[in-house]
């Protein structure tokens, strides 16, 4: 039964395609309908007929009395797109078409904020993209203003307003000098979406260590490690201590714990001890004791 119906509808649609854009002489349809709204179709003539409405993802079939108005309630059609109307009555077939357009009022935002974590102080480092949808998940293609707000933990706000084009809008923001979780909000027509952007410290800056004798060893300890904006570099960051002596070398990759890194290395007279983190070099100590 179903394949038969599909075949019938397909045949009707194919037969009617060349005339799809034409308004049938005995069929009056609205030019466009907002997704989810009620609408009606007026037919002319007398007798009984069958009305088909075929569109993207929707198919409606009604037995109608020709010459009367057929009403469709709210929510009958909600997928935006171009719809074909076919009225089959007696030996004749009438056809017409209309558009179901997205509701003008945004109901949902898909908000993509990238990256979710970045270093402080990066110009245009944060990107926010918004896709505006109506209540039926149709992309709202009409130009819609979207406001973007990025608020850092200190309460400083960056604002941008962008009008959507073909349903989407995007902007770029700077990461600020202060580490912490920024709140990134996009708003359109009373609907909003929020994301959290983690601003993390940059590379260590002014990396410095101190050394002191501890028995047969040198105890090496960094000063609290901070980036160039003064943010504390997070624990777990690797600090590499390298001691060079008598043609040999000792190395330790030590993680920061409670803001500092410390290790004990063998004491060798005349040894040179350097410190680094990633590609950043720190100070160097010559051990003469």
């Amino acid at each position: 039964m179903r394949p038969g119906l599909t075949f019938l509808l397909g045949s009707l649609a194919l037969a009617a395609t060349p005339l799809a854009m034409a308004q049938g002489a005995n069929l009056t349809v609205p030019k466009s309908v907002e997704a989810g709204n009620a609408f009606s179709i007026q037919s002319a003539g007398s007798g009984k007929g069958t009305l088909y409405i075929i569109g993207p993802g929707d198919l409606l079939k009604r037995d109608v009395q020709l010459g009367e108005t057929t009403s469709f309630p709210s929510g009958a059609l909600y997928n935006a797109g171009h719809y074909l109307v076919i009225l089959a009555g007696g030996s004749s077939t009438e056809n017409a078409s209309f558009d179901v357009v997205p509701a003008s009022q945004p109901a949902n935002l898909s908000f993509l904020a990238k990256p979710s974590r970045l270093q402080v102080g990066l110009h245009n480092g944060i990107t926010g993209s918004v896709y505006v949808f109506d209540a039926y998940q149709n992309l709202v293609s009409a130009p819609t203003p979207v406001s973007f707000e990025l608020t850092n933990p200190a309460g400083e706000v960056q604002k941008r307003t962008v009008t959507t084009h073909d349903g989407s809008a995007w902007t770029e923001m700077d990461s600020t000098a202060k580490e912490g979780a920024d709140r990134f909000v996009a708003r359109a027509g009373g609907v909003s979406g929020a994301r959290v952007i983690g601003q993390v410290p940059g590379d260590p800056c002014g990396l410095k260590m101190n050394a002191q004798q501890q028995g047969q060893q040198i105890l090496l300890e960094t000063a609290p490690v901070r980036d160039c904006s003064g943010n504390a570099v997070p624990d777990g960051t690797i600090i590499t201590f390298t001691e060079t002596y008598d043609g040999a070398e000792s190395t330790v990759d030590a993680p920061l714990k409670r803001g500092i890194a410390k290790v004990a290395m063998p004491a060798h007279r005349g040894a040179r001890i350097s410190i680094a983190s990633g590609v950043v070099m720190g100070n160097e100590i010559r051990w003469e004791k």
């Binding site: 990256p115 974590r117 896709y131 590379d203 997070p234 000792s250 330790v252 993680p255 409670r258 290790v263």
Partner: protein
Amino acid sequence: MSKGLLLAVSLGAATVALVAMGTMWPIPAAAAYAGGGSLLRSSSTPEAAVQNLGDEIRMNAWQKAYDSLANKAQFTEPQFVHDLTGTYPSLRTYATLENFDVQPLHASTDEAEMRMNLHWSSVVGAFTSTRDVHVVRNGDRWEAEWPIEKEPVLPPQVIPVNYLRWDVIYRGAGDDWGAQDVEAPHVRIVDMHPVQRAEGVVILGELLNEDVVPAYVSVTATLQSKSGATIETEGSFDRISHILLPKQVTPFFINFPDRTLSEVGSVRMTPLSQLVPASADPVIEIQDERLNPAPDASLTGQLSNQSGQVVNVAHVLATFYDKNGQVVWVADQYIDRALLPQTPVPFSIHIPEDLARKVSTERTVTSSYSSGGTQ
């Protein structure tokens, strides 16, 4: 058809004949492995005594091996077994002795020195350990004295550790496609250098985790011809430290066997990173790193586990630079013994002879694997 039948009959007859011969006159090794005999020969010479010991070790016949030793009063059988397989689980525990060779170093009428090269096979490749065995005459027999290396016994103690660890909560399967997920760690290739070697093209380089979170990393390289066509894609496999803590740098080594640099127009590098749970411990100090010149050029040193946790398998990766700071080689070694806290374990990484003269400096990193977690 008749020729085929003749061939089948001939093969069947030959098979039956060979099975019968093998059953009636088996080779000694087959008989030994079938439990019907012994591979061991009379220990009438120092070489035979050491060969017998090696065969017993290979067959895991620990009691026989221990009983054959001249100096067994100096240690117990479990200590002997632990010397060979490790007290704590390590690469050695899961390795098998593939074969061994014996070289005489010195011999007199009553004693001899023999060098045993034990070739082990493991999941990360083959490794060799060398023992110099003293052999003594006992009547008409020779007996080996095992050079026991007792693992140090750590005194009971408490080592306080500020346990630093990252855990990750990923997005849920039901989340909207626009919902945020945790950002993959930001990693960067800070150096890359293709090298032509006799065995093919090698890509050497270094990768930096420039993020504040740990990363599981790998690198793939794609060789492209001068016309832009893809020649081959390879990954770094295990010649890289896969877990990189924040601001940590690892070398990588990608091998393209049987390729020549002349056919390569460009190389496309793809670093991959994934946010993973990780621990900042244990910390391993690399002590007394020395570049030893040719012949037998090598990098030697010692690993010292500064944490209280036993490290079961350690992997040492060395990057060698020329005087201009250019990477000229990357080599590695797995340590076959567990790293006990505060107990140095030596390592030795071979440097190819033709590159040894170019090497000016080096940089060594370690990655470690402990049962119940990795770092």
